[in-house]
Structure formats: structure tokens, C-alpha cells
Subunit: 363 residues, 2 copies
């Protein structure tokens, strides 16, 4: 039986990446050591982290005036680190189109009780369970603000921002955790991009931060580990980095490049997710909670049956057939198919077959 | 040629651990998924993290009123997280017997510029390049202080604290990164123990924190990720944990248990390091920079030849023979043999053979 892992993260990885990691587990390139055993100051690891950075620069066309950092703590740590370094007593706007965007805002509010700055909720679609991307007037933004924060892809709710909003000249900062490398964005449109790796980059335990050099903090942050400038100047080696996760990320970057890069991945992802969206659209049984078709995520596709009992039955029947982690997030309910870069097209076809059969038996 | 990895961390892992990781890389226990792909909310990962905690509790005899956390960011993040949660406007004493202890103190001073508390340098042996553990009078400690911080093993300088000092009733907090599981300590003697994993626990990317429940912060910290109570209440799953590192740690804990546990590891480590110390002691050519024999680390053993040129020659000749990462830290110079739990006795014997030969050729 084929296993299809629809997990929203940590998520499916490309099989060739896992096979290479397996081959190299006991002896990395003739060193006689596992990557898990490499000193982070060794020439072997130096190559790994530099190659990882170079590949990511190439894939995302990252301009030279941006630093690339490999940090720890996930996007959740960035929720604090970002305002700590960038807000500096100013206004910081939060565009909240999903649960993770709300967490980013909530953490900013928490931090602002100790570190003076002014987090502002720019727009939110929480009232309608984030079923659309909320709009706002650019003129609502104070042009002296530190930044506007947005989430490019809402992992839980299945929406995405493909066309960046007008922010009245204020720098844009993005949590790109769930569609980095899956969709083409232009790095130069952002002051900072960050992403937990455990979706399209690969393993949990490493967080990518891409920051324009002139946004590096001038004054030290209250903790060296939370200080972008210190991390940038140390080339992500201020302390021991999450070495194995960076190694796996490097292998994933190589794989993405081999597939044809980000534009090709986006093409594949649009076709792959299109199969499922088209099927849902023609069905009277399944519904997408996302209101606006143009805002549909290519990475996370929630859907529901006519009622909660059938949703539960769907999950109960699908799981033993190899459709793993298909259950939706509790806040949205139903099911969620996360179709990241490494998710195979064949898995979408087989899911649709199962959905057809389930509909026939239960409608 | 056998490869012996003397790295101070990330460091050598037990071969059976790497072999099991290799076997399970593409299919963890029949799940059809790699551990790298497991959702952190899956039943498979739930077992891994719970088993890891249970094994560590058993190995270290951790009392029930202590929480065990698996966090990110290394000991360096704990340098800030600890005072942020525990100091609360009070005095916090730092016993500084090595470079890492000094970093802990320096970070506390940095944090205290924003978060009011009073970090105090209790004792330091910096003047003599940390060649001994500095003493202090218990009466020098204000009994109302938040804690006394110490480093149980100084990775760079090769000293260790085996007999805990009298802290005038003030709770003891320890960075145990480089000798956790290598030497027996009694957890009930500490309020908090923390350790970056990349020495005796295994992989980089996970940090173990053991904290007595009544030391969990009553008030929220400025960042949820840096809040012990939030992390404890979420069972280390507040956000996506460094899942693969926790899995490898679990395998290492199983291996330590199979070897006979911590007391047995200490016995083996004392014998293993004793071979090298005895050889250095009888030699007129090699010297240990550690002044007091009773303070010698069983984990990190620095040594020097009569001069810097010979030190460089030693490293240059040893490395191609398979003695990897034997170069000492720049602050101490010479060589350093890190003999963590997983380092094989045979490697010590072969190192001594090489040292004899080098001495014969160069003295």
C-alpha cells in the first residue's frame, strides 16, 4: 500500500533526499563521520551551510544586499525577534488573514508590554474564520511605521496572498513558512522574509530568515541569540547551528533545483492543486471553506463534507488506506490536504478516487 | 583507517544509534514515513518524545516534581531565558570557571539592561585562563538571591565541578552541556539544569531543560517561546519541535541505558580519560593546563607540547592519520581530546600510541 502523507508540517520530503541521507548516514563524503557528528567548525560543515545558502539564493533570486540566516526556534521565535530588532518604538502593522498571522500579532502585543513599540492590527478576517484575505486602505498606514507584517500562505485556512498589497511605502515583512519555494515571490519586495523549514524546505528545527542588510539592527537586542546583526555577522554560526536540519535543507534545495526551480515548482503545484480544486468545485458533496478562488492556497487545501459526522467517517476510512494526516485543523474542521513541493501528483489522483467513492457511498 | 572524532561538539555518536537511524530513515516502524516527515502531532512522534523524556528521567533519576523540556536555541538561548524567567528583579550570582560560564554571565548583564535584575560575578578564574575552579565564601551570597549559576564542565578549559559548592541556601542552576549523562549529578541539588545536546546527548538542534516545577515562572515572559511555563504546559510542543534531534536523543538514551546507565558511563569515562591523564602525567613532553587533578574533566582533555610549533606539527600529523578535530580551542591552544560517552576506548589507546611516537621523534 502506498502511503501519502498530507501533513501540514513536518511534511513529506522528496524520496531521493531521504535516500541520499540514508546512504550518507554513517560516512559523509568519505569523512568517516556522520553529518550528525560533524563539528560545525569543520570544513565539511562549512561546505554544507555555504552550499545551502548559495542554492537558496539561486532558487529565490535573493539579491546580494540580503543576508540569509539559518536559525532555530521556528516562525514562533521570529514573532518576537522581528519586532525586537525592527520596531524600535515605532508602529508595526499586522495584516491578519489566518491563525498564524494572529499569533504573530499576539506575540508582538506581548512583547510591546516590555519593549516599547506600537503593534497595530491593520486588517483581520477572524470574524469569518479567515475564509478570505482582508483588504485595507494603504492610507490607513502611517508611512513612518517600521513594517507591515503579513503571512503569504495560511496553512490552517488554505488561503494565500499572491499579489502583494500597497503598504503606503512601509517595508513589508512576511512569514512565508508554508509556501516558500512553492510559489514565486520577489525577494526585493520584502525587508524580511522568514520561514520555518518543516513544510517546503524540509526538516523541522531550522528557520530561514532573509533580511535586507539595511534592516539589520543598529543597537544590540536584549539577547545575542535574538539579535539579527549578531547572527548575520557570525554567518549563522554564533553558536552551534541545527546542523543536520541545514544538511537536509541543502539536499531539498538541490532537489528543487533539479526539478527546474521555483517557477517550475509553482507550475507543478498549480496543476496538482488544480486537480483537487476542480474536483471539489464540480462536486455537490465536498466544499472548500475558502471564499475567493483567486486566494486559494496551492499548498494547503481544506475541504469539508456535508456534515461533521461524515467528515469524521472520511478521516476514519481514509487513514488506514494510506492517506495519512488528512484530518483538518480543529479550527476549520473537515479535512486538509497539504500538497507541498515533495507531495506526489499520484497521491492527489488517488485521493480524488477515494473522494469519489466516498461521495458515492454517502451522498 | 579508523576515524576517531575528538570534536568538542557536535561530536561522535554511538555507531548502533547511527545504524538504527539509517535503517529507519525511509520507513519509521512501518509507518511508511521517515521520522523527518512525521507530524509532531502524530502518534508516532508522540511516542518518540514521551519515550525520550521517560528514558532521560530514568537515566538521571529525575524526581516527579521536575519538568523535562526539549527546546531549541542551545545553551546560548538559556543564557537569556533563564534570568528572563527566574531572576525577577533579584540578584543572580554567576560562578565563572570557563569561557561558557563567562558567556552566561555576559548575556545576563546584557539582558539586565532591559529587564531589571542584578547579575553578580560571584567568582572567576579568568585571570589564569580558567586553569582551576575558583572558590568563594558562601556568606558572599545574599540568601534572597534568585539563583547561583555554574557550569558543571568547562568544555574549552577541561575542568569540572564534581562537588557542588555551598550556595548559602540559594538555588543552584547549572549548564551541564558537556558532561550531562557522563558523570552522576543529583537532580534534586538543582533548581534548573540545561544542556545543549550536541555532546553527550547526541545531535545539535535540541536543548534539554530540567526544571523544578516551583521554579516555573508565575508571570508570562516577554516571548512565549522563551517562557518556561508555556513550554512546560505544552509538553515541549508549543510549536514544532526539533523532531529529528529528539528522535536521535531518544536513541542515544536507549544506548546509554543499554551500556548500564550513568554510573556505568562515569566509570567507563574515568577509566578512559584516566589512560590519557596517566600518560600525560608521566610524560616530560606533554602538559595538561589544568592545575588541580581533582578538577579534571572526564569529557574534555586539553594538553600541550613544549611549544606552539610542535602543537601545530602534532595536529598536522595526527589529522591525516584519522585523529579528527584534535586541535585545541584557540583560547587554550594545543590539543583537546573530547572523550564523550560515545568515544571508543580504542581511540584513546591509539591516540596515546601516536603521542608516544610523536614525543620520541620530537623531544
Amino acid at each position: 500500500m502506498a502511503i501519502y502523507n498530507f501533513s501540514a508540517g513536518p511534511a513529506v520530503l522528496p524520496k531521493p533526499v531521504l535516500e541520499q541521507a540514508q546512504r550518507e548516514m554513517l560516512d559523509y563524503q568519505g569523512s568517516g563521520m556522520s553529518v550528525l557528528e560533524l563539528s560545525h567548525r569543520s570544513k565539511e560543515f562549512d561546505s554544507i551551510i555555504k552550499d545551502a545558502e548559495q542554492l537558496l539564493r539561486e532558487l529565490m533570486a535573493i539579491p546580494d544586499n540580503y543576508k540569509v540566516l539559518f536559525l532555530q526556534g521556528g516562525a514562533s521565535t521570529q514573532f518576537s525577534m522581528l519586532p525586537l530588532n525592527l520596531a524600535k518604538g515605532r508602529k508595526a502593522y499586522y495584516h491578519v488573514a489566518g491563525s498564524w498571522g494572529k499569533k504573530a500579532y499576539t506575540e508582538a502585543v506581548k512583547l510591546s508590554k516590555t519593549i516599547p513599540f506600537d503593534p497595530i492590527l491593520l486588517a483581520s478576517s477572524e470574524e469569518s474564520v479567515y475564509d478570505h484575505i482582508p483588504a485595507f486602505e494603504p492610507s490607513a498606514i502611517d508611512p513612518d511605521a517600521a513594517y507591515v507584517h503579513l503571512t503569504t500562505n495560511n496553512t490552517i485556512e488554505g488561503t494565500a496572498v499572491y499579489h502583494l498589497p500597497d503598504t503606503n511605502g512601509v517595508p513589508l515583512v512576511a512569514d512565508m513558512s508554508s509556501n516558500i519555494l512553492a510559489v514565486r515571490y520577489h525577494v526585493e519586495d520584502f525587508a524580511v522574509i522568514y520561514a520555518g523549514a518543516q513544510k517546503n524546505i524540509g526538516p523541522a528545527g531550522v528557520t530561514v530568515v532573509i533580511i535586507r542588510e539595511d534592516f539589520l539592527n543598529d543597537e544590540p537586542a536584549l539577547s545575542s541569540m535574538l539579535d539579527y546583526r549578531i547572527q548575520a555577522e557570525a554567518g549563522s554560526l554564533y553558536n552551534t547551528p541545527p546542523a543536520y536540519s541545514i544538511y537536509i535543507a541543502k539536499l531539498v534545495f538541490e532537489w528543487v533545483k533539479k526539478q527546474g526551480g521555483v517557477d517550475k515548482m509553482e507550475e507543478v503545484n498549480r496543476e496538482k492543486s488544480g486537480l483537487l480544486y476542480d474536483f471539489i468545485d464540480q462536486s455537490d458533496f465536498y466544499t472548500s471553506p475558502v471564499k475567493v478562488a483567486a486566494e486559494r492556497s496551492v499548498a494547503n487545501i481544506p475541504f469539508v463534507t456535508p456534515n461533521k459526522e461524515l467528515d469524521a467517517k472520511f478521516v476514519a476510512q481514509a487513514t488506514p488506506l494510506g492517506f495519512k494526516n488528512i484530518k483538518g485543523h480543529r479550527s476549520v474542521g473537515g479535512m486538509r490536504a497539504s500538497l507541498y513541493n515533495a507531495f506526489p501528483r499520484q497521491g492527489v489522483l488517488e485521493l480524488i478516487d477515494f473522494m469519489k467513492q466516498f461521495e458515492a457511498e454517502n451522498s
